[in-house]
Amino acid sequence: MLDIQLLTTPLDTQACIQFVHADDAGGIDVFIGTVRNATKGKAVLRLDFEAYEPMAIAEMRKIAEQALEKFGAKKIALHHRVGTLEIGEAAVVIAVSAPHRAAAFDACRYCIDTLKETVPIWKKEIFEDGEVWVAAHP
């Protein structure tokens, strides 16, 4: 059971948790990635996210399906935001339920780690004096 979304509006952590809630699941792990106010000591004003939308959703779905299968998780909600985000706002919320806690933690971590490697979403950091696409250069 998956709920995969790419949204331009603020993410709703509570809705993700409610989606994965199940009476036969004993553990829910939730990861929330938020916009930090600094990178390498330099103040960040805000972030711009862009996505290759159909492919991003397809890749997010693949990752969540793999996580269900690899770890025996029950349900996964995976919401990512695009557009302009202010400091402190959530860029990604991943909620995973599983019969036992180890599977919930492992599946959630697998989702965020893999998302950061394969999902076609790009983040631009906006500073006082310029902007940088994150991780673009070696």
Partner: protein, 80 residues
């Protein structure tokens, strides 16, 4: 044949546009397209990586392209 090229993130800054039509001699692989693009936009080779996706799937260099395939230039991703 004509390929539709989509560019994202810093790749869009380098190609200068989101949508670009590219003419290729047929048959052509993803690797052939990469060579053409790197020649036309040398700054692509300065990136940490550039993957190509064909019709919304990551594609190996050896994959043959078809007329009207949608190919996307995928610079290093940084979601999450």
């Amino acid at each position: 044949m004509k390929i539709s090229l989509l560019s994202f993130g810093i790749a869009k800054d380098i190609t200068g546009q989101r949508f670009l039509d590219v003419e290729l001699p047929s048959p052509a692989t993803v690797g052939d397209l990469r060579s053409v693009l790197v020649k036309q936009f040398p700054r692509l080779s300065e990136l940490a990586s550039v993957r190509l996706a064909v019709n919304s799937e990551y594609a190996d260099e050896s994959v043959f392209l078809s007329e009207n395939d949608e190919v996307a230039l995928i610079p290093p991703v940084s979601g999450g």
